[in-house]
């Protein structure tokens, strides 16, 4: 189908994009979620502002403690980044498995976070990695923990007029991995689990098991309290109530959660 009539502007600076979003335009990053929704008329923004003309939103660099990833950096670049592979392997894992090469050539890390689909791969891995998001709006810039960004289906704590400009991933020596299950390569993930194992303990998060990506607190608590992996797997779904849908029942998704937590933990441990 053809999207509804809309006004299009291409911002050449972050300030210009913020002004457009504050005036009601929807930010367009890689378009790999927004465009299909517009075609199906699930979304019908009256105005969009294209962020692809803002050079400072693209690229991966580092300071002493963190890797800074521009919000418009595409998944292909993230999957190929040695820096991200070295410090947050699970984020590179996730980026390399999103959609298809065509989708990874357009889709962006900021777009994935801002879209907040409860089956996205990227947000869960960034939560497990302890990443933060830099958002800029009419009232200036602020930092939001990735864990505090997404509140429910397609909904974030971004204020009106705010856009995500950067994702900051802590540099760590953690061993980490992401494991997911999906039916066909191009399909959305049914359930995915990211695990980081380091000197400060285990952190884990999952996608596809709630209305937003969630920390696997019970799983972490068992392992960080010296318990066995089997005991942690037995408790992995504690406090989590997945939604039944065409992609599986509640029991099925809880089962997948255990299988994938074990797989991700095993892969992380072997790295």
């Amino acid at each position: 189908m053809i999207p509804s009539t809309l006004e299009y502007t291409k911002a050449s600076s972050i300030d210009e994009a913020v002004a457009a979003v504050a005036a009601g335009a929807v930010p367009l990053s890689g378009g790999q979620s927004l465009m299909p929704m517009m075609r199906l008329r699930l979304a019908a923004p009256h105005a969009i502002v294209d962020l692809s003309g803002i050079p400072e939103l693209v690229g991966i660099c580092e300071d002493e403690d963190e890797i800074a990833v521009g919000a418009m950096t595409i998944h292909r670049e993230i999957a190929a980044s040695e820096l991200i592979r070295a410090h947050a392997g699970l984020v590179a894992d996730a980026a390399g498995g999103i959609g298809s090469p065509q989708v990874r050539n357009r889709g962006t890390i900021g777009g994935s976070l801002g879209h907040a689909d409860p089956h996205s791969d990227m947000p869960a891995t960034l939560i497990a990695a302890g990443a933060s998001v830099i958002a800029k709006g009419p009232n200036g810039e602020r930092r939001i923990l990735a864990e505090d960004l997404i509140t429910t289906y397609l909904t974030t704590t971004l204020e009106p007029g705010e856009i995500i400009t950067q994702v900051r991933i802590p540099k760590s020596d953690d061993h980490s991995a992401y494991a997911k299950f999906h039916r066909r390569a191009i399909d959305w993930t049914v359930v995915g689990v990211g695990v980081c194992i380091g000197d400060n303990g285990v952190r884990a998060a999952a996608t596809g098991v709630a209305d937003k990506p969630v920390r696997l607190s019970a799983f972490e608590a068992v392992l960080n309290g010296g318990g066995s992996l089997d005991d942690a797997i037995a408790k992995v779904a504690e406090g989590i109530e997945p939604h039944a849908g065409l992609d599986g029942s509640v029991e099925y998704k809880k089962h997948l959660l255990g299988v994938l937590a074990r797989k991700a933990h095993g892969e992380a441990s072997s790295r």
């Binding site: 189908m1 053809i2 999207p3 509804s4 009539t5 809309l6 006004e7 299009y8 291409k10 378009g31 790999q32 465009m35 299909p36 517009m38 075609r39 199906l40 294209d50 692809s52 959609g99 298809s100 090469p101 065509q102 989708v103 050539n105 357009r106 066909r184 390569a185 191009i186």
Partner: protein
């Protein structure tokens, strides 16, 4: 409502008026009459509409024409040389029976060129993995992979 854009398609600059909501695939097919690029699924699943924008394989059904203002687009029509010589990927699909009904073929070939350019020494397994975004409803995947293998080898030799 129209906006004027200039897009270089297969080496030729086209200046045209488009509505901002016009998808790249509709611009190519309906305004430039380049109907080699197919529309399959309308949900970013099938890869039929794959074209290259500034050298990257992308889905033309998930890109607005206006986003391509000032950019270079390559479609399946741009593969063969001006003298009519087939591109190695076209020749390989021809020789290896890489198509049955042919509907997915333009997208397969544009994805294949992207794969060969990104990974010139891709193994068969890597070719299969990289084709994850292209569906063939005839399920002719064996010969599609064989065609891409043959084209990659041919392009490496020349």
């Amino acid at each position: 409502m129209g906006e004027t854009i200039t897009v270089t398609v297969n080496g030729t600059a086209h200046t045209a008026e488009v509505e901002p909501r016009t998808l790249l695939v509709h611009f190519l097919r309906e305004q430039l009459n380049l109907t080699g690029t197919h529309i399959g699924c309308d949900t970013s699943t099938c890869g039929c509409c794959t074209v290259h924008v500034d050298g990257d394989a992308v889905l033309s059904c998930s890109t607005l024409a206006i986003q391509c203002d000032g950019r270079e687009v390559r479609t399946v029509e741009g593969l063969q040389s001006e003298d009519g010589t087939l591109h190695p990927i076209q020749q390989a699909f021809h020789e290896n029976h890489g198509l049955q009904c042919g509907y997915c073929t333009p997208g397969m070939m544009m994805a294949a060129v992207g794969i060969i350019e990104q990974q010139p020494n891709a193994t068969d397994d890597e070719i299969r993995a990289a084709l994850e975004g292209n569906l063939c409803r005839c399920t002719g995947y064996q010969n599609i992979v064989a065609s891409i293998r043959a084209a990659a080898d041919q392009m490496a030799r020349s």
